[in-house]
């Protein structure tokens, strides 16, 4: 099977410390894959390797069909990346942030203009284009981040805690968009600490100390651990794993 994201025993060591320890994942095109785990479990390190920002110590991986060891430049044009900490320029207006990120991703003027119109309409940002980014409520800034990461029509979106400090209503609106993108064929690789959001994923993995401790659909994981919510299942798996 052709996976959108695939790793084989992917490993990263920092000196004597193993941050990512032989992980194996296969994510299909259009799948929403929740990459969960405790703080410090190695999620961000793994994502950085998949995005071509960090060289693995051993193992291998392919993203959009390209080797994460050798073809990082090709990978970067096919992925979008968004994180809670990812900085839009707060003193630029919304339009200029879009222009900047579109140019950085190498879109030419005409394509950029067309994609900006398309993304602003899709994300409901059209009325906000002349507004100063920093003056927008946080939920809207997150939408703009998503628009910036999605301008160049990436096959795969990496979302690292996209809804950290977002209120319950804005979070749901954000996940509406994620599900629409997935339905259109974009692969979504997302981390979150909100376990109710993880329920919207097709499959999730739970990482403990660099290793993947569990991987399945949310329904199957709840059933296996005999829990009503994914939060309970997560606590059972992580607290059990730490003992």
């Amino acid at each position: 099977m052709n996976y959108s994201i695939e790793t084989n025993d992917l490993t990263k060591k920092f000196g004597p410390y193993t941050a990512v320890d032989h992980i194996n994942v296969g994510v299909q095109a259009g799948e929403i894959f929740g990459f969960l785990g405790a703080n410090g479990a190695g999620k961000t390190t793994a994502i950085r390797m998949l995005c071509g920002l960090l060289t693995p110590t051993s193992g291998s991986g392919h993203v959009a069909g390209f080797d994460i060891m050798k073809e990082t430049a090709k990978i970067r044009t096919r992925i979008g990346y968004m994180s809670q900490k990812f900085s839009l320029y707060p003193d630029l207006v919304v339009r200029d942030n879009l222009k900047l990120f579109g140019s950085l991703y190498g879109l030419n003027k005409r394509d950029l203009a067309a994609r900006m119109d398309e993304m602003s309409a899709f994300l409901g940002l059209t009325d906000l284009l002349p507004r100063i980014t920093g003056s927008l409520p946080w939920g809207w800034q997150q939408r703009l981040s998503l628009a910036c990461a999605n301008l160049h029509k990436p096959q795969i979106l990496f979302l690292d805690e996209p809804t950290g400090s977002v209120d319950p209503v804005s979070r749901r609106n954000f996940w509406d968009l994620i599900q629409l993108l997935s339905a259109q064929g974009t692969t979504i690789f997302v981390t979150t600490h909100h376990m109710d959001e993880a329920e919207y994923c097709h499959r999730i993995s739970i990482m403990i100390s660099g290793k993947i401790a569990a991987m399945d659909s949310p329904q199957a994981l709840k059933k296996k651990h005999n829990c009503e919510t994914l939060l309970e299942a997560f606590l059972a798996i992580v607290e059990g794993g730490n003992r």
């Binding site: 946080w138 400090s165 209120d167 209503v169 509406d176 600490h193 376990m195 919207y200």
Partner: protein, 316 residues
């Protein structure tokens, strides 16, 4: 028992926009008081005024019996404040960070060592005392920030979203620490985007666009939830129901909730089967419905929709 925090009719504008528009509240000693609200509701502004970092345009804030506008220096020595981005020194160790904050607050060396030992034990950070802050996990950083905030034994703690970006296990641990602090008689005001945490508070304040929308004990607030709530399970994976669909007649709110859907019915309670067929008109894959008790998350969604309705109606 005297109230530790008394806020009366607080107003604050930032460049013409209301951050706070008439907020009043009081917090008794030893209370764990939660602030919730949509993004930009005014939670951080309220905390900054209470901690004397920003002055109000109008109204008063009295903390430990002192006026935030006049006695700010006295207040600062009696409170602890953990802002959203607490600045730990990344290249200092756990111990050095705590020592630094102790010195800032003028804690005497002998007392300092005693308190550090206690706080390290309390925050379960003792094994990591020589680790640099940079190399701590997100949850440990937040516990260190809290420990630094507690080094001068404040009477009142103000915490601005202390568990954002913190995993569920560490969040549980962090809240266990908060309830220990409360048991010691410390008053805690905490804002959070996690509604399961809001549920753990003694009292809650819902803010919306700088105004108080509701305030009270979580169970009392939930008892005031005016709709009949149902959980609906569905075979359909796509749960994009919150914005795009037109609601079936009689359904006030419809939104994804965890692995299922919540449907809130206005007016009389109805049989679950009836609710199921209503929901089926927009979510054909719906298979089962059951009456459900609302949680704070449901109340939040209801209150926000109520506010949005109130805002849009005069224009019509």
């Amino acid at each position: 028992m005297p109230d530790n925090i008394i806020i009366s009719d607080l107003y604050k504008n930032y460049s013409g926009e209301h951050a706070l528009a008439g907020v009043s509240l009081s917090v008794p000693k030893g209370c764990l008081y939660g602030l919730v609200g949509a993004d930009g509701a005014g939670k951080s502004t309220l905390l900054r005024i209470c901690t004397t970092l920003v002055s109000a345009d109008r109204g008063t804030a009295r903390i430990c019996g002192l006026d935030a506008a006049k006695d700010f220096q006295a207040i600062r020595s009696r409170i602890g404040y953990m802002p959203q981005k607490f600045s730990l020194y990344q290249d200092l160790s756990v111990r050095e960070n705590m020592q630094f904050f102790a010195d800032l607050f003028g804690v005497k060396p002998k007392e300092r060592e005693e308190r550090m030992t206690r706080l390290l034990e309390f925050s379960r950070l003792a094994p990591f005392v020589n680790r640099r802050a940079r190399n701590l996990s997100g949850g440990m950083k937040q516990k260190l920030a809290l420990s630094c905030t507690l080094i001068h034994t404040p009477e009142v703690l103000f915490l601005d979203e202390p568990t954002t970006g913190v995993d569920p296990v560490s969040r549980k641990e962090f809240w266990a620490i908060l309830s220990e602090l409360r048991a010691q008689g410390i008053t805690i005001v905490v804002s959070t985007p996690y509604m399961d945490e809001a549920h753990l508070c003694d009292e809650l304040l819902f803010l919306h666009q700088g105004k108080v929308v509701r305030q009270g004990r979580p169970d009392a607030l939930l008892a005031s939830y005016p709709l009949a709530l149902y959980t609906v399970w569905s075979d359909e994976k796509l749960l994009t129901v919150s914005q795009s669909v037109t609601l079936p007649h009689g359904v006030a709110l419809l939104y994804p909730e965890g692995g299922a859907i919540h449907a809130a019915i206005a007016g009389e309670e109805r049989p679950a089967t009836e609710v199921l067929s209503l929901v089926k008109t927009v979510v054909p894959g719906a298979t089962r419905a059951q009456r459900t008790k609302p949680k704070i998350e449901d109340l939040f969604i209801y209150l926000l929709s109520e506010q949005n309705d109130a805002e849009s109606s005069p224009k019509q």
